[in-house]
Symmetry: C2
Subunit: 906 residues, 2 copies
């Protein structure tokens, strides 16, 4: 056993590097990397996390061997700094900090100013020529040491300090006199003696090892254990310990401390961005007692330091190839970097920075793609609140984040009001118990939609996403009174015309009007703005054009309407992966025929009603084919159970009861409603999701699928004859056994032959299936014998694999996520262990029968970057997502292809 265990770092020289997080922890690896890159980092050493495990296993003792190594490294540190731990002349002070592989902010302990005792404090006073400063450091050290190492309750120190300030009639700590600090120090020592039954150690070596032990101990403190459990961080990683020379920003006006970004993290502009305080320590910036200055004014305050900073931050970007978020301290005119990390940035900034860096020659296009998180693009596509204005408003309630974007407007309670208010030039938010197809015109007229009930697949949510309207649904705290046109939330009442704001990304509902900014990119896509007039659009499209060169996955859109398809095409969709035909049925002029079809008692009557629907459907499909210009268009045959198109049982029952109890009951009307109710009852289901839907409908009523196939193929014929190109893919939903697909396929092929013969036209089309129940995945080898393509319907597949309805899951999903039972929400991100395992099986089995089988995904997870990574790894041909997610998918697909190439994807 002759391992290293302790790693030294100093400017230009470091034993470690940023790749060594496993044993140095995040902080230690970062310090080593910075030092190694020649940045002015205060020197120090890192005790590896392996020692933490040894410490725990050996009954909380640092092994002798390691103790020896620490002593050696301490000597080296003294040599490098020219200071000495415990020296009364030039005392070395150090910080002792934890740092695990994964960041656990605030969970473990830190000790600063270690090395001070009754003697060295005077050495520090002499050297800094500031005895008050030295005493304050000592006071702080005793307090931290007492708390962290000796487990003395914090509040004991707090009370003492408070009393002293009261006694001396001062308000702030920094106003305390030397005398007062001396008193406090002596009282602190007293507290320690009483509370811990031991004296505050004057032996600085003892201080150091006690502190190291305490940091290791803190790995297993209850807070840390809980944090790890919730964040799924293994308990056996252990923490490293960083011992580093202290530098002080509070020794006079040539000293200071600050934080900054190498570029503007909000806009991406290339400028040093941040703030600093002279003669101050980090805590002072946080405490907010003094107002920090903008980094730009450092140029005037200490020009030579600003120059150093400029030079160093350039090196930072060059070294890290990314925007950096850094902390620094200036000690008597000398700049020290304490920390640097990749800077968080807004979506627009991310895109600009990545593209700028390529143009500056700092990075190449591939690296640029890796600098932008796919999800960050979403910020460029929806209106957003002005952050400052948003902070001023109260959050009223939390609903489900159904459709992204920020919206502000005056409250209206029904669709007609929404339209008439809009016509008067007002902006409105439509607030409903839940929406129905009758509300479409009102939804279209509103800035955003808010409903009290309904889940992520409710009408409001689905239509909201389709229209790109910010929507918050299932906001259970809302108590609506639609008649009186008011709602109450937590005993606050709002009426028609009051202003509210909703944020569809977060599900937040806020009171009042909040300024929103439109998305420039959407303006360009909608041709409301010219591309050349929008730099944001330029950046955006440049980045995505790079992405298209790298990605292997195709990207298609889930689109039900020509408008939506057009937008998707502009966003770069290479086809339509899912058209839900039922949404077409809900339109006002069609619904009566649908109802008639459902209420038919004979096949003949059903066919008559279907004949009326045929021209509508044909027109729908014709437009879609036209918009997609010969790219594949996947159309799913009717999926939802028929009762979805009829009124609700309970509403009919109430209506009948009302009529019966009225003074003059209309018997005819009652009978009519009773007949309708009987049919509704007949069709009503205990679990509609698991009921008579999908291909089960097409098998029970072949005339329905026949009509749909005819509409699709007639539309294709027409366009083809007009000289257009078409590529219809007819997709059969909810197949669980291959015979279901065979049944539907036979009908479709028969219709196709008829239609092509009749129209004297030939074109390619294919028939495939959704893989959306576990059995389809499990028997995919058989199904692939009949299917020309697979498309994973991961919404239903997730619901059936878990046995959880997404809508009903609202009752417990949140608790599952916060309590750590679920790591991620499988309804947003593919659950790789369960659903993903089925997908893997389906791809393998499917391609064992048909090696070139085309496989895609059209569930909501198809637009989620993590899921897109997974789909790439499974070898899918394409992902299909909503129009707004297409840019995200293009970027995500490129990134996983790049990561796979570089071997970092696992």
């Amino acid at each position: 056993m002759n391992q290293k265990y302790v790693y030294f770092f100093q400017q230009e020289k470091a034993d470690g590097s940023k790749e060594m997080k496993d044993i140095l922890g995040g902080k230690g690896a970062n310090l080593a990397e910075m030092a190694g890159a020649g940045l002015p980092v205060p020197p120090g050493f890192t005790i590896s996390s392996e020692v933490c495990n040894m410490f725990i296993q050996s009954g909380r003792k640092v092994p002798k061997e390691v103790e020896k190594k620490v002593q050696d490294h301490l000597k080296k540190l003294e040599k490098v700094t020219g200071q000495e731990l415990g020296s009364e002349e030039n005392p070395l002070l150090v910080s002792v900090r934890s740092g695990a592989k994964f960041s656990m902010p605030g969970m473990m302990d830190t000790i600063l100013n270690l090395g001070l005792n009754d003697q060295t404090v005077e050495g520090l006073a002499k050297k800094s020529q500031d005895r008050r400063f030295a005493l304050d450091c000592y006071r702080r050290f005793i307090q931290m040491f007492g708390d962290v190492v000796l487990k003395v309750p914090k509040k004991k120190f707090g009370e003492t300090l408070k009393n002293k300030k009261k006694e001396d009639q001062v308000e702030y700590d920094y106003q305390l006199s030397e005398k007062a600090l001396e008193d406090i120090i002596s009282q602190y020592k007293e507290i320690i003696s009483q509370e811990s039954d031991r004296n505050f150690p004057q032996d600085v070596n003892k201080q150091l090892f006690m502190a190291i032990d305490a940091v290791f101990e803190s790995w297993n403190n209850p807070r840390a254990v809980t944090y790890r459990r919730l964040n799924h961080i293994p308990g056996d990683l252990g923490t490293a310990v960083n011992v580093q020379q202290m530098v002080f920003g509070n020794i006079g006006e040539k000293s200071g401390t600050g934080v900054g970004f190498t570029r503007n993290p909000s806009t991406g502009e290339q400028e040093l961005y941040g703030e600093y305080l002279l003669n101050a320590q980090g805590e002072d910036v946080v405490a907010g007692v003094r107002t920090p200055s903008s980094l730009q004014s450092l140029k005037d305050d200490i020009p030579e330091v600003y120059e150093q900073l400029q030079e160093i931050t350039d090196r930072l970007e060059e070294h890290y190839q990314d925007i950096q978020d850094f902390e620094f301290t200036i000690q008597e005119g000398k700049l020290y970097m304490l920390q640097t990390r990749n800077g968080k940035r807004t979506g627009p900034a991310a895109v600009k920075i990545a593209v700028d860096m390529v143009e500056e020659g700092l990075i190449d296009e591939k690296k640029a793609l890796l600098l932008v998180e796919p999800q960050a693009l979403d910020q460029l596509l929806h209106p957003v609140f002005d952050t400052k204005e948003k902070e001023k408003q109260n959050k009223l309630a939390q609903g489900l984040a159904a459709s992204p974007g920020a919206a502000t407007g005056q409250i209206v309670f029904n669709a007609d009001d929404a339209v008439s208010w809009k016509d008067k030039g007002r902006t409105v938010i439509l607030v409903r118990e839940e929406t129905s197809p009758d509300d479409i015109h009102g939804m279209s007229a509103s800035q955003g939609i808010l409903t009290a009930t309904g889940g992520m697949t409710s009408h409001a949510a689905v239509v909201g996403r389709q229209m790109g309207k910010p929507s918050v649904v299932g906001c259970g705290d809302l108590r609506l009174n639609e008649e009186q046109k008011t709602f109450t939330v937590h005993s606050k009442t709002f009426k028609e015309g009051d202003w509210i704001s909703i944020e569809g990304n977060s599900g937040e509902v806020l009171s009042g009007k909040i300024k929103t900014m439109p998305s420039e990119i959407i303006q360009v896509i909608r041709e409301e703005k010219k591309p050349e007039e929008s730099p944001v659009y330029q950046y955006f499209s440049k980045l995505l054009s790079w992405a298209d060169k790298e990605r292997k996955l195709g990207v298609r859109a889930n689109s039900d309407t020509p408008e939506d398809a057009r937008m998707a095409f502009s966003f770069g969709a290479q086809g339509i992966g899912l058209t839900r035909t039922e949404h077409m049925f809900f339109e006002r002029e069609r619904l009566p025929y649908i109802k008639k079809m459902i209420l038919s008692e004979s096949e003949e009557d059903r066919r008559k009603a279907l004949d009326k629907l045929l021209p509508f459907q044909k027109e729908d499909f014709y437009e879609l084919f036209k918009e997609m210009k010969g790219n594949p268009v996947t159309i799913r045959t009717l999926d939802p159970p028929l009762h979805e198109f009829l009124p609700k049982k309970e509403d009919l029952m109430v209506r009948i009861t009302e009529l019966k109890n009225s003074d003059n009951p209309e018997q005819k009307k009652i009978q009519e409603l009773q007949k309708l109710l009987a049919r509704v009852r007949e069709l009503s289901e205990f679990n509609p999701m698991l009921g008579h839907r999908g291909c089960r409908l097409g098998i029970s009523y072949p005339e329905i699928i026949e009509m749909q196939a005819r509409a699709i193929l007639e539309a294709a014929s027409q366009l083809k004859k007009e000289g257009g190109e078409v590529l219809p893919e007819i997709m059969v939903p909810l197949v669980g056994t291959v015979h279901e697909l065979t049944n539907q396929k036979e009908i479709i092929h028969k219709v196709a032959q008829e239609v092509m013969e009749k129209n004297q036209v030939q074109f390619n089309y294919s028939v495939g299936t959704m893989i959306e129940v576990p059995r389809a995945a499990l028997t995919a080898d058989k199904i692939a014998g009949e299917a020309e393509f697979f498309s994973f319907g991961t919404n239903d597949l997730t619901q059936t694999t878990y046995g959880i309805s997404r809508d009903d899951g609202v009752a417990f999903i949140n608790h599952y996520l916060t309590s750590g039972i679920w790591e991620v929400n499988p309804f947003q991100t593919v659950d790789e262990d369960g659903v993903g395992e089925l997908m893997k099986l389906a791809v393998e089995k499917g391609r064992s029968t048909q090696p070139k089988l085309k496989v895609g995904i059209c569930g909501v997870q198809g637009g989620d970057p993590r899921s897109i990574y997974f789909c790439h790894k499974l070898g899918l041909n394409y992902v299909s997502c909503s129009a707004y997610q297409i840019p995200i998918a293009r970027l995500a697909a490129a990134r996983i292809a790049l990561e796979e190439k570089s071997g970092s994807s696992d």
Copy 2:
């Protein structure tokens, strides 16, 4: 290519045997086997089914090579019989019959009396000394040949025959004179010439080959193709052709024909059982013109033939080791066996025969087990209708076969009436729209239960099965008027007090009173009869004791009540595999507390309500433990969503509307109901099966599972302290991710520690989980890290794997089964390709983590023999089923173990 293709058979000598069904077909193999066993079979030969495929592939021609072989075999047949095809002196007549590997009754063609023409008919006349007989044979042959070979419409012949009878003023065919027959023959020939454009062939060789061709052709007739599709018989098997010497039972009084069983197939008594007609052909028996005599009287009619028959049937049983169902013909005092096969028998007969045969030394115990189909035992456990009486009654309607057994009684329409009628000594059938927990007393008082709505898991179905009450549910044709106490079915109206009968095995509803016989075995189990007084019980328990020696699978019961557990134990249950605690909640005195618990707004109130439930639950479990005498008792924690315990939304809405519209609205009542409605709405779910239930409840409301764990463990402690033995297995439902199980397990273990410490008692208990959603199976390796046992909940697992709710599936499942989309109903028999694949994965993954993991099944499929076979092959430890299915499961488990040993299980 020098294959055999044609196989000869004659008494004592046969080229084939019963194992050769693949090429000889069922009939050919059987004839070969009988002949080989020395039975008097008319000689003949079989052309193999390979030839059928050659015939089809070569454009409907029998290859020359085969034609040659047929000629050779024909020669041999002539030699063996001493007759000659086409001879005018001693003509050989043959039958030409199809016979495929799998029986396809009536689907393909048969030709009798081949070899007759204008000359040979006179030879036959001479030989039989009965010219009328010969002419009749000829007439029949021309008709069959015309129909089958020459495709002349049957009705043409029929009309001619009818006209002739009219003309001659006779009623029956056999009354036709020789002259009339001559006329008919000549008219038949005329018809053939006209209809088929060819003459009836006088060349007997041509007759033979045309007939062979026609039989091969018939393999692909539309009826046969459809039959194969529906029965999943591959189309490339082909049919064999059997050419066999004709024998005649209609040549005088020493001739005859008959059918019989070697034992009584209804009771199992050891006696020749059957009927015969002298001077008759098989068709005459079927035509029912003359009444056949019982086989016993053959002893007097032709004693020497009876002796032959007695001797032959003994040999049959010895050879086939099973009861035989045979056909024979007597031609002038000589007995010929035409067919024999294992006889179908009733359940009681099957058991008696198997046990008798062991005692007679004919077979061993293992073979006896293989002679009884497990499902046959069901007939011994339920009351059955007297078959003859049942035939007299009209079938009114068809419902779902929810709980087996026959019941007859007077109609009542509510539970209270059921009780009061019963108290007056009447037997009643309770007819309801659907039942609820409030009907329990009425259900208990009834002979059987009939409901108009609800599926196989409806309240009526579940409780019916539990009580062992014959039940038919979801009988959609019933239109109930509960107020007027009538129901109408297909425009026939029944009122209170009318008699009806229901058969829970088939779902049939019949009008009128039908005599039922009670099950003797149940009488013994219920201690209403002594075992030694019931021979049926003796046979039954002897057979099952043999089964127990062979089986490897354990058999447990699904029991929720002590009564049920006691019965299960008497049936041989080795423990309880599933106790559903929620059914205990539905009892009248407990429901209020459940409601209170659900309506609680704070954890504190919830705990108070739960405290009230604890003693009830403890008592329930205590009794179960006691009944099971130390065997394992698996108790599932609360599973259904809470709203199941509350009134329905629509009923509340209607009630509120009624109150509001009444003349004097009670505001307080309305408000109260509105509050209840609000909570019901809050809890209501779109898809309750996929909602807030199972362990999700226990995680949201830990106090519920805590109470249940306490009740279980307190009950166990009490019994243990009283000196009893206990082995509780606590089962967590609906786990989809291991963390759910961990969460619930921690609570249970904590309670266990408390309870054991408090009671100063120690006992073993375990915590395991249901595997009932696909994700549990897919991640079984992880779950097995926490679970002490698995139990497959194949009801929910099937529903989620298919994405089909069993109750809602009624809308299409029947169509799926009849149209062949499904081969079997996966809700009755484990779907091996899908659900079974998941089970296999779960067993493999689970045991990869925990090699000795105990795995069982507790879904309804656990009582289904085919599924039990599958469970055995998967290596499960036990199956759990309802008390009534335990004997079936014991036998099924023994049979698969035996079949596996003999290598015939795949």
